[in-house]
Amino acid sequence: MKRMSSSELIFKVLSYFFISLFIILAAYPLIYVLSASLSGRAAYETGQVFLLPKDVNFQVYEILYARNGFWISYTNTLFYTVFGTIFSMTVSAMGAYALSKKRLKFRRQYNFFVVFTMWFSAGMIPSFLNYTSMGVDNKWGIVIAFGIQAYNIILLRNYFESVPQEIEEAARIDGANEFQLFTKIYLPMSTAALATVTLFYATSRWNGYFWASILLKNPHEKPLQVFLRSEIMTYRTLIENMVTDTLEFSPDSYAYAILICSIIPILIIYPYIQKYFARGVNLGGVKG
C-alpha cells in the first residue's frame, strides 16, 4: 500500500461520502414508492411511512390485478417492446454494418445522411402530418415508424469498424459472402455493442408515450405509459369510488403500485446489460 498525501486522503473520503449520498438520493424515492404502495392507509396518511412499509397489505395490487385496462396496456407494451426492438435492431445493425465498410461507395454521404438527423428534425407538426398521412394509427404503424436512432447506428458502426480486418479476410478465403460475414462473424463478435443498443431500443420502446398517446386510434392498443399517465391523473376519484368502506390503503398507494409495476421489467433486465454499456457508450457514439 503506497502512502497517500493528505490532500489525496481528503479527496478520497469526500468521494466515498458523496457517492454514498448520491446513491441514497437516487434510490430513496424508488424505495419510498415501493414501501408506500405496500403500506396500510392509516400508516401512510399519518406520515409514518419513511423507509420500510408499515402495516403491509397487498390489497392495492389485487385491485390493480383486476383492472382490465392494466393487463391490456401491459400486453400492448410487451408487443411494442418485443417487435419494436427486433425491427429497430435489424434495420440498425444491417445499416451500421454496411456503413462500416470502406468498400461502400458514397460512404461519407450515407454517414452524413444518418448523422444529420441527430441535428435537424422536421418538428412536431410536419411529423404528425406525415404519420397521419402514412396511416400510422395502429400497432404495426407504431412499430415501424418509430424507434431508430442515428446515435445507436453510429455506436454499432464504430464497433463493427473495430473488428480486426484479418478475421474478415480469413472468412473471405473460406468463401463466405457478405451476408455470412455479417451474421456469422460480425454479429457474434459484437455482443457487447448489440446488448447495449438492444437495451437502449427496448427501454425507449417500453417508455414510449407521446406519439402513442396522440396517434393510436383504438384505445385497446394503448401502451402501458398512456394507461399509467391517465391513472395518475385520475386515481384519487377512481379509488374513492371503487371501494368505499373497505379501503385498506390510501389512494396514493394505487398510483405508487402502478409506478412499481411499470418499473419492474426494467429493474429485471437492466443489471444484466449494465455491465456492457459502460464499455459501449463513449464519445465514439456521439461523434459522426
Binding site: 448520491f22 454494418y97 407538426i125 406525415n130 408515450y209 395518475i232
Partner: protein
C-alpha cells in the same frame, strides 16, 4: 463516363449484398425523418386539411408575423421562447458540471465492487420513463385537502437561518416560480449518473504516466485534478458542451408536458409545448408549423455555431 458506369456496375455485381443491407435503413430515414422536412413548407401556407400541405395556398411570411407580432399569439410565443432559453441555461449551469464531478468521485472509489454498485444504482433513473418520473414527482409533491405528498411535507420543513424555503401549504406544483427548479432537479436526478459515463471513460483514458510525473514534482490532489485530469478530459468536455449547446432549443418537452398546468404557463411553457397546444390540441397547424420551423432553424444555427467555435479554440469538433 461509360467507363465509370462499367466500373460501377462491376462494383455492384460484387458488392450488391452490402447495399441490400444498407437500403432498409436509408428508406426508413427518408420516410420518417426526411420526408416530413418537406412538410415544414406548412409554415408558409394557409393549411387546410382537405387540400394537404402542398395543395394549401401560399401566404408567404404571414404565419411568422402572426406568431411573433399578433396580439393573439405574440406574447405566448415570446414567453415560450424565453422559457426555452432559460430552462436550457439553468440546465446547462447545473446539469453540465454535476456529471463531471460525479465522474471524478467515481474514479476515486478504489473498491471495485462498491464502484460498480454505485454506478449501477446511479445510471438506473435514466432508463425510467418520463411518465414514471413525473408520476413520482406529481404524487410526492401533491398537495391535497386531507393529505400532502411526502416530498412536499419535507420541503415545508426546510428552514434556512429562520428563512422558510417554501411556505407550508403552498401548492408547489401550481406555483409558477417553483416550476423551473422542479424541472431542473428532476432532470438532475434522472440523468446525472448516466451522463457521467462519458466523463468517467475520459478520466480512465488519462495516461497514468502523467499522474506519476506530477507526483514526482510533489503536486497535491487539487493540482492533479487541475493540471492532469481536467486537461486530459478536455476534448470530451468540449464535445459534450458543443452537443449541449446544439440542443439548446430541444427541451425534453415530454417532461414539461407531463409536469405543467395552466397555472404555471408563464414559467413552464416552452416552444414545443406551445406548438403542441396550438397545433395538435388546437387546430392552428400553420402557425404551429411556423414555430416548429423557427425552432429547427435556430437549433441548427446553434449546433453549427458551437461546433465552429470549438474547432477554432480547441481543434475539437463534431465533424
Amino acid at each position: 463516363m461509360k467507363h465509370r458506369l462499367k466500373h460501377l456496375s462491376k462494383h455492384l455485381k460484387t458488392e450488391w449484398q452490402l447495399y441490400v443491407l444498407l437500403i432498409p435503413m436509408l428508406i426508413w430515414f427518408v420516410l420518417w425523418v426526411y420526408k416530413p422536412m418537406g412538410g415544414l413548407l406548412i409554415a408558409f401556407k394557409q393549411y387546410e386539411p382537405i387540400k394537404g400541405v402542398m395543395g394549401s395556398s401560399f401566404v408567404g411570411l404571414y404565419n411568422f408575423k402572426q406568431l411573433m407580432f399578433s396580439s393573439a399569439f405574440g406574447a405566448q410565443f415570446w414567453t415560450a421562447f424565453r422559457n426555452t432559453l432559460l430552462i436550457n441555461m439553468y440546465g446547462l449551469v447545473f446539469g453540465f458540471p454535476v456529471p463531471i464531478i460525479l465522474a471524478l468521485f467515481f474514479s476515486e472509489i478504489s473498491k471495485e465492487s462498491f464502484r460498480k454498485f454505485s454506478q449501477t444504482v446511479l445510471y438506473l433513473p435514466h432508463f425510467l420513463s418520463e411518465v414514471t418520473i413525473t408520476g413520482i414527482v406529481l404524487t410526492l409533491l401533491y398537495h391535497g385537502v386531507d393529505q400532502t405528498g411526502m416530498l412536499a411535507s419535507m420541503i415545508y420543513k426546510i428552514n434556512i437561518f429562520g428563512h422558510q424555503l417554501v411556505q407550508p401549504g403552498t401548492k408547489i406544483l401550481e406555483t409558477a416560480r417553483y416550476f423551473r427548479p422542479m424541472y431542473i432537479i428532476t432532470g438532475l436526478w434522472k440523468e446525472s449518473g448516466y451522463n457521467s459515463i462519458v466523463y468517467f471513460a475520459a478520466i480512465m483514458g488519462v495516461s497514468p504516466v502523467l499522474y506519476e510525473a506530477l507526483k514526482v514534482d510533489g503536486g497535491n490532489k487539487w493540482q492533479e485534478i487541475r493540471f492532469v485530469t481536467l486537461p486530459g478530459m478536455a476534448p470530451t468536455l468540449i464535445i459534450m458542451l458543443v452537443l449541449r449547446i446544439g440542443r439548446m432549443l430541444s427541451v425534453g418537452y415530454e417532461r414539461v408536458l407531463l409536469l405543467y398546468n395552466t397555472n404555471v404557463y408563464s414559467t413552464a411553457d416552452v416552444l414545443s409545448t406551445f406548438v403542441y397546444r396550438i397545433g395538435l390540441e388546437g387546430t392552428n397547424k400553420s402557425l404551429a408549423g411556423a414555430a416548429d420551423m423557427f425552432n429547427a432553424i435556430i437549433g441548427f444555427i446553434l449546433v453549427i455555431g458551437a461546433n465552429f467555435i470549438s474547432r477554432r479554440v480547441s481543434d475539437t469538433s463534431l465533424w
